[in-house]
Symmetry: C2
Subunit: 145 residues, 2 copies
């Protein structure tokens, strides 16, 4: 199952690259695989550090540029931050965020009601909404007094 699912995703990646006329380079594959293993919202540097383990010659630029490219074609999302380094989200399905104002952590959560939020009419007239996200700011379990 796991193995199959992984193969499927690799195949999907090939397809996506072809759809967008991107060449399938070993670097891109390695970065993509690393993203699949991420359960957080890694920075470009975090991805770089991990990919470097199995691919010592890769440069930080390549990682950064590849992530930006991935963001353009919808393979990753760029996550909203409040300063600091960009963060990338391999989970492009609709979900929402908890943001701890103390430690800066960003935690995913699912909520059907939030997914189905109605876009106000006056907003929809002047703005074409592509995705919706609820961001709850506050204190996480570890930072709560």
């Amino acid at each position: 199952m796991q193995k199959n699912s992984h193969t499927d995703k690799t195949q999907a990646f090939f397809n996506i690259c072809h759809q967008h006329q991107l060449k399938v380079t070993p670097q891109r594959v390695a970065i993509y695989r690393q993203l699949l293993n991420s359960d957080t919202h890694p920075t470009a540097d975090a991805i770089y550090q991990n990919v470097k383990q199995e691919y010592p010659n890769i440069s930080y630029d390549t990682v950064n540029r590849t992530l930006l490219t991935f963001a353009e074609i919808g393979v990753v999302d760029v996550v909203e931050i409040f300063g600091g380094a960009k963060r990338f989200d391999p989970n492009v399905t609709n979900h929402h965020h908890l943001h701890c104002t103390q430690c800066g952590k960003i935690i995913d959560f699912q909520n059907r009601t939030y997914d189905n939020l109605h876009v106000p009419e006056d907003v929809g007239k002047n703005f074409q909404v592509i995705s919706k996200r609820v961001v709850l700011k506050g204190l996480c379990k570890d930072c709560r007094p």
Copy 2:
């Protein structure tokens, strides 16, 4: 009316400073006044450029540090961004954001329904929610094809 409102806000600023044991320096007042005039989400540099007009000797650091201090005491909000320089929001009342993925603009909007979003029980158990914001990503009027 305007004048009164402005005086009120200045008075409020004095009170806030005293509450937090902050000294009321001319720089802080100038930065605060500049914030009141902002209708967008200025960067530290934008504030700096404007304050410099009436206060040529001020340094960028002072502006930046002051804004961070203001954020700590709740005079401004740090706005969620997707990369680039920090943005500060002088509007600390509850509101929501449209984010144009094309030009990067962030537009405020009000919505009572969004203000009153119910926090899911399983979230509330592990996270103390302080504020809620809906971020709608998409294309603004100018960028829409």
